[in-house]
């Protein structure tokens, strides 16, 4: 039965791949470096393997950065660094699964923050001890907010923050001024009111993509958290809470009630929204990061836009009810060290190098991502980066659970299934209730497994 091999048996094929790679031998190795009297790790003749995401916007710069860092690392420890990159989240996942099962592969992984809980759940990565933290330069050297999604609690941290990529919104200064708005909104209600003033003809108050594969759940999460519901409370999922429904109503309402977004945005992803904002046809661009700078600086709005924090006051509220402002999900990259690695001291030395103040500032200059190093973050003076740095400090971690993936999927799925209603101009109340209820049931089941696992 030939068709079998390609039927949706992705799982099986993966298993086979895992099993086969598991049989393979070799891999670089050596029994790890030894530490000299002066505290330097001696890694002469060894090779450290690092797996990290490919930066498709800056391919040349990334190669350059990697070879520079490798040279510095060689000078410091005598060891080589070999970089491998993954092109997509899927690619990354496959590599991690393979390594987890076979117990061999890269020593250091760069992971997206929201993927860290899933990685932690596999128990295949080092939970850092006090000594380990010392080896990477001390816990204090990092922006403390960035540590929020490194582990389930402050004594069990596996992810070492590398860069922050907080979400902010951009606004078109000309459009705001023309509508008589003197400063950007700080609550979601105010945002909608301002957006209404800016909407006329083919210009809309807000640019956002309802068909984006990530954005929708971040909006819902943020609004819910700001209303005092962090979604996960112990082993209970609180997606059926009224705050969540209110969040969906607000988010969908921009299109159905307020009519402040382009109706075509039901089919947009984030990049379409960026393009709409770049053409000068939108007052606010929601849920964007510093990675939109290169696009916007080359567009019609160059010099006319600024970043600012997204609203931190939940819809219908007058002040934030969350414990500290939640301006953005805690977003960026963490570094984790594989438990199977035989050269953990080298891995820590590498992380110490790339999270040092100078290297972090250098990285920021080339790629735009904000430093996770607290001192480096504080030293940024560019006014354009100020709101981004603010957002990094006011970012809030999404629930740290292995069920995180399912919860995101559930939140996102409510939007996906509501898009036809959105396009028709009205989201049916009972249908929305039902979709939220489904997401709650599935997410809770996943959370139950997580608490057992």
């Amino acid at each position: 039965m030939r068709f079998k091999s390609t039927t949706g048996l992705a799982a099986i094929v993966t298993a086979a791949a895992l099993a086969l790679t598991g049989c393979g031998s070799g891999g670089s190795g050596g029994s790890g470096g030894s530490t000299n009297a002066d505290g330097k790790v001696d890694g002469a003749g060894k090779t450290l393997n690092v797996l990290t995401g490919v930066l498709s916007q800056y391919p040349e710069q990334q190669k350059q950065w990697q070879s520079d860092i490798a040279a510095k690392f060689k000078a410091e420890t005598g060891a080589d660094v070999k970089f491998e990159t993954f092109a997509s989240a899927n690619d990354e996942l496959t590599r991690i699964q393979t390594s987890v099962v076979s117990g061999q592969g890269p020593d250091v992984y760069g992971l997206g923050t929201t993927f860290t809980p899933t990685a932690y759940a596999t128990k295949a990565f080092v939970t850092l001890s006090d000594d380990d933290w010392k080896a990477v330069g001390g816990k204090d050297r990092f922006n403390q907010a960035a540590l929020g999604i490194s582990g389930p609690d402050k004594d069990h941290l596996a992810g070492i923050p590398f860069v922050s990529r907080p979400f902010v919104m951009a606004y078109n200064k000309d459009l705001l001024a023309a509508a008589g708005i003197d400063k950007p909104a700080t609550s979601w209600d105010e945002l909608a009111a301002q957006a209404k003033k800016m909407t006329s003809g083919d210009t809309y108050g807000i640019a956002t993509g309802y068909k984006d594969n990530y954005d929708p759940w971040k909006f819902i999460w943020a609004m819910a958290v700001q209303a005092g519901n962090p979604l996960v409370d112990g082993n209970k999922l609180k997606m059926d809470d009224p705050t969540v429904k209110k969040a969906y109503e607000t988010y969908f309402g921009w299109l159905t009630k307020d009519k402040v977004v382009d109706p075509a945005s039901v089919g947009w992803s984030n990049s379409n929204a960026v393009a709409a904002f770049a053409s000068g046809k939108a007052g606010y661009l929601m849920m964007t990061t510093s990675s939109s700078i290169p696009t916007l600086d080359k567009s019609a709005v160059a010099g006319k836009y600024e970043y600012t924090l997204m609203p931190t006051t939940a819809p219908g509220e007058t002040q934030s009810k969350s414990d500290g402002d939640a301006a953005s999900i805690l977003s960026g990259d963490n570094l984790v060290v594989a438990d199977y690695s035989k050269q953990k001291d080298l891995a820590f030395a590498y992380i110490k190098l790339i999270t040092s103040k100078d290297e972090q500032l250098n990285y920021q200059k080339i790629f735009g991502d904000l430093p996770a190093n607290a001192e480096a973050l504080a030293s940024l003076t560019d006014p354009k980066l100020k709101p981004l740095a603010d957002a990094a400090a006011k970012s809030k971690a999404t629930p740290f659970t292995g069920a995180g993936g399912d919860i995101q999927l559930g939140l996102l799925n409510v939007t996906v299934q509501s898009v036809p209603d959105l396009a028709a101009g009205k989201v049916d109340d009972s249908a929305l209730d039902q979709r939220i209820k489904d997401a709650q049931t599935k997410g809770q089941a996943s959370l139950d497994r997580a608490s057992k696992g």
Binding site: A10, N213, G405, N413
Partner: protein, 336 residues
């Protein structure tokens, strides 16, 4: 029966080896049966079975082993918490199967997959046959037309899906074109219409495959048959119906089988067109299995789903295979 010279030599050698009496008995029989066992054709006698080894080994590695592993995984509680020591994950028997059947959209997905594949197949069959018949006789520019027909077939699925997604997005080129003639269809890539979008794009992408196989069938029609039917005064429809179509039965039965399997297995098209999570109306089998495995990390459950769908699809396939006798080549007459 083989007429190869080598086996004619064999009796003589046997005789020389002192088996003359038996040989003489054989000789008394009618010529065709002379030799009994020893008279087997060369191709059967020296059939190089060892040639199966490379293919067989590959089959075992890439199909049989994963299949067995998959069945094993389907009885484990294998997820991101147990993946690290997956061989020793908790054994939970049929729990995954029960969950797949009762608490997952699996049956819905099977229904969607099969119905969409059938629909696409039913439409592509006449399209492909018509195109093959139309380009059967030479005309000026036929080569160009034939080449153009193959474009959808040679384009990678990813490209096809990306282009269609761009054309079908709200306010996209398809909507605009339809709007000029006053038709407003609504959303293509979300909601209930997604099912028909998937069928439509699948038809566009796969009809040339039917066309190709139909063409090969047409070309196997002997020239004499055309002449004979012309002499009998058959009009084009009768000729097509009673003379040409019987020739197409084999290739088209094969096309139907391969096409169905390909559609049911098609992951790229729905994944790129609709993304994940997919709208419920296009949550076909490959998408469901993918999401279960790689978004929810329920590897065990996903393996159970895949296994159930394999069984569900294998049964009608088996019936179909018997019905169209695609395995005719295995009957004794065809043995060589």
């Amino acid at each position: 029966m083989s007429t190869d010279a080598s086996h004619e030599v064999r009796p003589a050698v046997d005789t020389a080896a002192g088996r003359a009496p038996r040989h003489s008995v054989d000789a008394g029989q009618e010529p065709g049966h002379k030799g009994g066992l020893r008279r087997k054709g060369l191709s059967e006698r020296n059939r190089p079975l060892w040639m199966l080894i490379p293919g067989g080994a590959l089959m075992i590695i890439i199909i049989v082993v994963p299949l067995l592993l998959g069945i094993y995984m389907s009885v484990l509680n294998l997820d991101q918490y147990t993946l690290r020591k997956w061989i020793s994950s908790p054994f939970i028997g049929v729990e995954n199967f029960v969950e797949a059947m009762t608490a997952s959209p699996l049956l819905h997905a099977v229904w969607l997959s099969v119905s969409y594949s059938l629909l696409a197949m039913v439409v592509t069959l006449p399209l492909g046959i018509a195109a093959a018949v139309a380009t059967q006789n030479a005309f000026k520019g036929r080569a160009v037309v034939r080449s153009i027909f193959l474009i959808p077939y040679v384009l990678p699925s990813f490209v096809v899906a990306t282009v269609w997604r761009t054309m079908l997005q709200p306010g996209g080129i398809v909507d605009e074109a339809l709007a000029t003639v006053g038709i407003h269809v609504g959303l293509w890539l979300n909601g209930p219409q997604t099912f028909w979008t998937l069928v439509l794009v699948q038809i566009w992408a796969s009809w040339p495959f039917i066309y190709l196989l139909a063409l090969s069938g047409l070309q196997s029609v002997d020239h004499e048959v055309h002449e004979a039917s012309a002499l009998d005064g058959a009009l084009w429809w009768n000729k097509l119906r009673y003379v040409v179509f019987p020739y197409l039965k084999g290739p088209l039965a094969l096309a139907f089988l391969i096409g169905m399997l390909h559609h049911i297995n098609n992951f790229t098209l729905p994944f790129v067109l609709f993304g994940v999570p997919a709208p419920t109306d296009v949550e076909v089998l490959p998408i469901l299995t993918y999401v279960t495995s790689f978004q929810s990390f329920r590897f065990g459950l996903s393996a159970a789903m895949a296994f159930i769908s394999l069984v569900l699809i294998a049964i009608p396939l088996f019936v179909y295979l018997r019905a169209v006798k695609l395995d005719d080549a295995e009957t004794p007459r065809g043995k060589k």
